[in-house]
Symmetry: C2
Subunit: 333 residues, 2 copies
């Protein structure tokens, strides 16, 4: 069923009234695409109404430092510190650390910018002192004056591992070191079984007026969130409709290996496959206009989901919220 | 007894032949002053002939990173990376890390430059992986192409603690945070009793043709080295003469709290007190011309010991080696 969105008129977003959402909005998010949607949502919602639940499956320890790529991308994006083009790291970054590290023969396959290091060093020191990740991230967000709640999916370690044709690879080995080249056969989330949702996660989901799944990689960014026991159950039990934004644009990912991975795992890179991956979880799917199809097992709406500019991000956020609102009005839950 | 040094003619150093020293030269050193002398020595001696045994009493863990201030000052000085004026850190340093750290509310009393961080991060990661400090430092020195052997006095933790009027302070708390303002009553070296000389230290001392004690703080920089069990004994048993370069110039320290500390601990800030502090250990003392005195209990020579330029450093190194050579010729041991 295709849902018509009154507010989904390209170029008209600025004329809309801010969509207040009783109970607030929860967004499940991975890296860059998710951060863009979260930024769009943050422009639409009153302060304090948005909670981001962030993938930690990409987290890893590098040179003894705990790196949380998706959390940091979100913090950088929401605080206006993100690099505009490269899709990771900070704008106006300096690279003295890497230069000195290389002069000492240190590993250089993972680029750590000088400013970026501050998050890793401080996070690592505070984790070692026994503070949970969620509290550290909350303090970073608060120090940067963010009005958005940023929650790691779990305070426990959930490590994405890719079972590839050449053997098992950790996420960063696959993603950065091997540039997503190995053929993936299976994806696992080490530690997920023993993990619990971070404090606040289940409550935010239960209270939310709308729940969104960002256009992040369903297999690598959203699946590790859903692998945390109790998290999927909380989404299923939520009173708010759950709307996913398809990460596909014209059957391909805007960035990253989503489409390639889907095909390697036997799924055509179509919105239908996205709906299948989120089967039993979502009430609606926002699909890019280039992938419009009537052949979808869930209610859906169509929009231009490319998010180059801030206006684009607000427009996509607005369309996703509008779909959630329509679904709620239709009694989807 | 005053020893006349044939080679100690100011402005004439460049005409001297390089003083080869069978068995090599060992220098015990702390921070900036010691690094300057070591640099001077490195200009005089053939490659591979100089071993620096470095104080680790100032080492501490900051933000989870193992910082070795004296070792790093020496590595920076010998490799031409040291800041020319400020007495610590690197030239052309950038400060993005500190700015980001401050924005996150992290501690900022100890300044960590972006390039400087590389040593701390890599050292910490390798220490955590079980590698001893001496091997890590050797690899840094080798990566930077140094022909000088840099040895920490010990691979075990020796932590300088100052018992002050306001209670006990760790070295960095006293030195950086409190800017040497508290009155010191006593100095202790935690962990010294359980420490051992790092591999190579005792052997280098036994083999040396000359042993120098740099014009570093005898109480804070050299005492922690001597507190390592076996190290003082190795110096006493050495066949080479031991020559200290007085850290005083006109009764004051060139940098740091040496003279103040001496007076707080009841010692006049004179070369005689320096000789007393090294009693039973040194065969000769190189004294600055501003502190010349006949009232010294050890053989001594006089020179301009200020080391502003590279030529100065070579000149002081040359005078110290000349005194050691004269003492050896006189059969001091």
């Amino acid at each position: 069923m295709k849902v018509a969105l009154a507010s989904n008129v390209p170029g008209r977003t600025t004329t809309m009234s801010p969509p207040s959402m009783p109970g607030g909005v929860v967004v499940l998010t991975g890296g860059v695409g998710g951060a863009k949607l979260a930024l769009g949502l943050s422009q639409l919602l009153p302060p304090g109404q948005l909670t981001a639940i962030v993938n930690t499956g990409d987290d890893f320890t590098h040179l003894g430092l705990h790196v949380s790529p998706d959390i940091d991308t979100l913090l950088y994006t929401l605080s206006g510190r993100a690099h505009a083009v490269q899709g990771w790291g900070r704008q106006d970054e300096s690279w003295s650390f890497m230069a000195a590290l290389e002069s000492l023969g240190g590993e250089n396959w993972f680029r750590l910018g000088d400013g970026d290091l501050a998050l890793h060093v401080l996070r690592t020191a505070r984790l070692r002192a026994g503070e949970p990740l969620s509290r550290i991230v909350a303090s970073f967000a608060s120090q940067w004056g963010l009005s958005i709640r940023v929650l790691p999916a779990s305070d426990e370690r959930v490590a994405t591992t890719l079972d590839c044709d050449e053997g098992p690879l950790s996420f960063q080995d696959y993603f950065v070191k091997r540039r997503c080249e190995p053929i993936v056969r299976r994806i696992e989330f080490d530690g997920a079984a023993e993990s619990r949702p971070a404090p606040g996660v289940v409550k935010a989901i239960a209270a939310a007026g709308a729940i969104l799944i960002a256009p992040s990689n369903p297999l690598l960014s959203v699946a590790p969130i859903l692998a945390v026991p109790g998290l999927r159950e909380a989404l299923v039990a939520a009173s708010a409709p759950v709307v996913a934004v398809s990460p596909l644009v014209g059957g391909e990912a805007v960035k990253g290996p989503t489409a390639v991975l889907m095909r390697q795992l036997g799924l055509p890179s179509t919105p239908r496959s996205i709906a299948t991956l989120y089967d039993g979880l979502i009430d609606g799917l926002l699909v890019d206009e280039r992938d419009a199809s009537d052949d979808l097992p869930v209610p859906h709406a169509v929009a231009d989901t490319l998010m180059h500019t801030l206006d684009d991000r607000v427009r996509v956020a607005s369309a996703a919220l509008a779909l959630a609102r329509e679904l709620a009005a239709m009694g989807a839950r």
